[in-house]
Amino acid sequence: MRKFLPLTLILFACSPKPEPINYGKDACDYCRMSIVDKKFGGEIVLKTGKVYKFDDIGCMINFFWESDLSEKDVYMFLVVDYYTGKLIDATKAFYIQSDNIHSPMAYDIVAFEKPENAERFIKKNGGGLMNWAQVNDLVRKQSPGRR
């Protein structure tokens, strides 16, 4: 059994899985800022096991489209749920961009796992509901510092 231990370790290292963001320590792979705000981040997990972390959903989307990666390489896109701070499946999340949000890179987008939370947020702060494809289109049309 001991003989196979190194092999299992290698297999483990390669199996892709999300990694919690280490706030205050990890830096955004797109804009290089250290990630401190627990409301706006995201993560791309590749099938190779490599994890990229971001401080702003806009950074994550721009990073992906400017890189050589294709969707085939990606195991999972994750974003931070605005209400719980948990990492959730980005492709199934609900997105809002609003002038009342101040995200680290000023894309000012937040994500929600549950549509009722998103609706409640819109009632208070304005903005329209978007899905993953729509938020990708939106970010790609804007440069950082959209105002």
Partner: protein, 408 residues
């Protein structure tokens, strides 16, 4: 026109004992003098020009639940108060003092202690922030819940001087702030950045001391002047003296970079002049990413750094000229003060560690010496030859007229 202004006094034995009630009775231009005492305020709004004077350290308290004071008028002066214990929230941002749409407000000589945000300015101009002591007091929580000390958003022509800021996320934060001055501040041990520019143009910061923060970050900004500042003790994987990201047309001069993991990081930053700085005992003095172009480095001192320059590749238009390097091994036969043979800036070991970081294990080992000697004899690995054709033989800035030494 006759202008009638009056002074309203608030204290424990005065007619007015409650600051909030007193503020309701004021007229434009009045002065409110507050002598001692503690006042719990919850989003109290100042909507006319007033002078608020604190004597004997009156405390404005948020009881850990509230945003305390909101200024929504021009020409408000607040001086001599202690703001403490603002609310703390995961979703809502609480600021001890919020200033909105204000021209000509002055906030000076106050203490801000244990607040999420200390000051949050929005859409304001020609304001002065002076002589304040600001302590977030929550450095142990890595500041991830904490907000910034002095936070400016969509402001212009602001002056920020003589403040001391510690224990916040960013000491001073600029987002969309133009034509402003930051001088003589001390910003230390903040969880993320001592000073942070985002999308801000035509600003200048000088004579500040930044120490023990994550870094100072200048990002997505144009025409920023940075001079006579000290950047020291920014250690760690994201520790930089200055992190330059998407910066255009700035100038960095007469600064001291002392004991930072990386003194200056250039990422996609262009047209910067970097001169007369001292890089002393940093891990890497300057890290240049290939995406940065047209930067010029001259008359700087490189002393005691593990590596002076590292780069993944360099665009041909980068210029290093007439700097002093303590690692220069050439000679000056003609005696003009400049070395007669060029100084190769990138050392082979720094190229290798850039590719394989674990090679840092062999730093200062015989292996490194061997590689350096081999590379000198038969240059093969170093991708592009950047060199300083006129390296100085003598130190230029460090210690001249006592310069820089007092900061260490």
């Amino acid at each position: 026109m006759i202008l009638i202004v009056s002074m309203i006094k608030v204290c424990d034995d005065c007619k007015f004992k409650d600051l909030k009630e007193a503020l309701k009775l004021t007229n434009r231009g009045d002065t409110v003098l507050v002598v001692g005492g503690k006042y719990v305020l919850n989003e109290v709004i100042i909507d006319k020009p007033l002078v608020l004077l604190g004597k004997d350290d009156p405390v404005i308290d948020g009881n850990g639940k509230y945003e305390m004071l909101i200024v929504k008028s021009d020409s408000v002066i607040i001086r001599g108060f202690i703001f403490k214990n603002s609310g703390f929230g995961f979703v809502k941002d609480y600021s001890a003092l919020r200033i909105k749409n204000c021209t000509g407000c002055i906030i000076e000589g106050n203490r801000f202690v244990n607040n999420m945000w200390a000051m949050y300015w929005e859409n304001s101009e020609r304001g002065i922030i002076r002589n304040n002591y600001i302590d977030g007091g929550r450095i142990k929580g890595a500041g991830t819940y904490s907000g910034n000390g002095i936070h400016l958003w969509h402001c212009k022509r602001m002056l920020i001087e003589n403040n001391e800021i510690t224990g916040h996320r960013d000491g001073i934060y600029f987002e969309f702030v133009d034509s402003s001055i930051i001088r003589n501040n001390r910003s230390y041990k903040n969880a993320r950045y001592g000073l942070h520019f985002m999308y801000s143009n035509d600003d200048v910061y000088y004579d500040n001391v930044f120490s023990g923060n994550g870094a100072v970050a200048v990002m997505y900004s144009k025409r920023i002047l940075m001079f006579r500042n000290t950047f020291k003790g920014h250690w760690g994987g994201t520790g930089y003296g200055i992190l330059l990201k998407d910066v255009y047309n700035g100038e960095i001069k007469d600064n001291l970079f002392y004991k930072n993991t990386i003194g200056l990081l250039f990422d996609n930053s262009h047209n910067l002049k970097v001169h007369n700085n001292v890089f002393l005992e940093n891990g890497i003095a300057i890290k240049l990413w290939a995406s940065s172009t047209k930067n010029k480095f001259y008359e700087n001192d490189f002393i005691g750094n593990t590596f002076d320059i590292t780069t993944n590749n360099v665009s041909p238009d980068v210029v290093f000229v007439e700097n002093y390097y303590d690692t220069y091994e050439g000679y000056d036969i003609d005696g003009d003060g400049f070395g007669d043979v060029p100084h190769r800036l990138v050392r082979v070991f720094s190229v290798l560690t850039d590719m394989v970081p674990t090679l840092y294990l062999f730093l200062k080992s015989p292996l490194q010496d061997l590689l350096e000697t081999l590379e000198k004899a038969f240059p093969t690995i170093i991708p592009s030859l950047i060199e300083d054709k006129r390296p100085r033989m003598e130190i230029i800035n460090y210690g001249k007229n006592g310069k820089f030494k007092q900061e260490i």
